[in-house]
């Protein structure tokens, strides 16, 4: 087991080192997420007043869109220099590589969210300070769920034709429960009187989703990445 964690840690550190040196994915993803929020602001803010519950929806749609972009770019980089093949040839357990990749993407998306969430709060008058811990729990568990499926599919699509189109086609139908739970849970927190119990139920559902889909991904990563 320590070996497994060590490999995962090394893969994650490699990804983050590459990212820290270029900051390509971080900058482009943050900018994309901000642009997304602005587009929604034009559509859903009427006479200076945002629609009810708009903030929660926009936040999660932006996370999903930005996440797709980040996933695509992360694996495009691996494909570009054939490094994914090198990674697969390494004599380490494949699920550990998956976990490393997953951690890297989750961390990246969480950084994006630290910009995105305050922006949504600002533009849509959302009370993001209502229940900060529960909001963080929702964001973290939702991001893990989204990235768990996303990392697996993006890794598989590296070799496929038209991978840019295929990723959202595969990813969105599967991650609908994450989006529903995220949006409903966040909307419950943003109400004038936060509905704690409802939000807790959605967090529980997200955690359950995370467990099932991370397990399933670990289980299928090996056969899927074998050529």
């Amino acid at each position: 087991m320590p070996m497994f964690l060590k490999v995962a840690w090394l893969v994650m550190r490699k990804d983050l080192t590459v990212e820290v040196r270029s900051r390509e994915i971080l900058y482009t993803t943050v900018f994309f997420a901000v642009a997304c929020v602005l587009v929604f602001a034009f559509a859903l803010v009427k006479e200076g007043r945002p629609m009810d519950d708009a903030a929660a929806g926009i936040m999660w749609i932006s996370v999903a869109f930005a996440g797709t972009l980040a996933l695509g770019r992360t694996f495009e980089r691996e494909r570009h220099s054939e490094t994914l093949r090198a990674l697969m040839l390494a004599p380490v357990s494949r699920p550990a590589i998956y976990v490393g990749k997953l951690l890297g993407i989750v961390l990246l998306l969480l950084i994006v969210e630290t910009v995105l969430v305050p922006l949504v709060g600002l533009l849509f008058h959302a009370p993001i300070g209502n229940r900060p811990l529960m909001l963080i729990a929702l964001l973290v568990s939702g991001t893990i769920g989204f990235s768990a499926v996303g990392t697996l599919f993006a890794a598989m699509l590296v070799r496929a034709r038209s991978r840019d189109v295929m990723l959202p086609i595969l990813l969105y139908p599967i991650t609908i429960p994450v989006i529903i739970a995220g949006v409903r849970g966040t909307a419950a927190l943003f109400e004038a009187v936060p509905a704690d119990e409802l939000a807790q139920m959605w967090i529980a559902l997200l955690l359950f989703f995370d467990i099932v889909f991370v397990t399933l991904s670990l289980w299928t990563f090996e056969p899927l990445m074998t050529e």
Binding site: V149, L152, F153, M156, L157, R159, A160, R161, S162, V165, M166, I169, L170, P173, I174, I176, P177, I180, A181, R184, L205, F208, F209, V212, F213, L216, T220, P223, L224, E227
Partner: protein, 219 residues
Amino acid sequence: MNKGYSLFVLLAVVLFAFAPVLVAETPNEATMGLVQKIFYYHVPSAMVMFMAALICGLASAAYLFRTRPGADRIAAAAAELTVVFGLIVLVTGPLWARKAWGVWWQWDARLTSTLLMWMIFVAYLLVRRFGGPGAEKLSAAMAVFGMANVPFVYISVNIWRTVHPTTAVIPKLPGGMRGPFWFCVLSFTVLFGLLLALRTRLEQRRADLEHLYLLADEE
């Protein structure tokens, strides 16, 4: 086409020719009247759709973990049938809903989860068709994840009020409706079995042909 298939086709034709007669004779439902007759096609299609989805998921798992090429062919055939029967469900459902509930669509748990499951299988076919080399594995993963997804979708949309009748209606059907209903279920299942067998065989032939081409190239 061999004898077994012809017999199967004949059976399916007879069943489907006889079903409307039976359905016409069933008693009208007290509140909905004639509109309720669509039930005899809507529910069996939905049952067959879920059967097809289950077969596709299981066959995909078998392909992924045991690398059986035959299982992949069954999965591909079952996925296409899921989409076809799902389309029947998604067309007959709103037609019925318009009359019974007054709206075409409700964001209710059963409707939403059926629609999403249907979309997952449409995505399966899209990946298979346009994914390029290695698309079989991709689509197999899609089917496995799609299966695991169904309960989550169902739970997460169940929070909204459910207007769709539950499956508990089926065992409590009155006498005049029970017979024709199960007859329709049988018809749809036979049709499904026939289509699945034919489609799998077609896929098998295609694979054989490709194999022969490769052999011819080598010579």
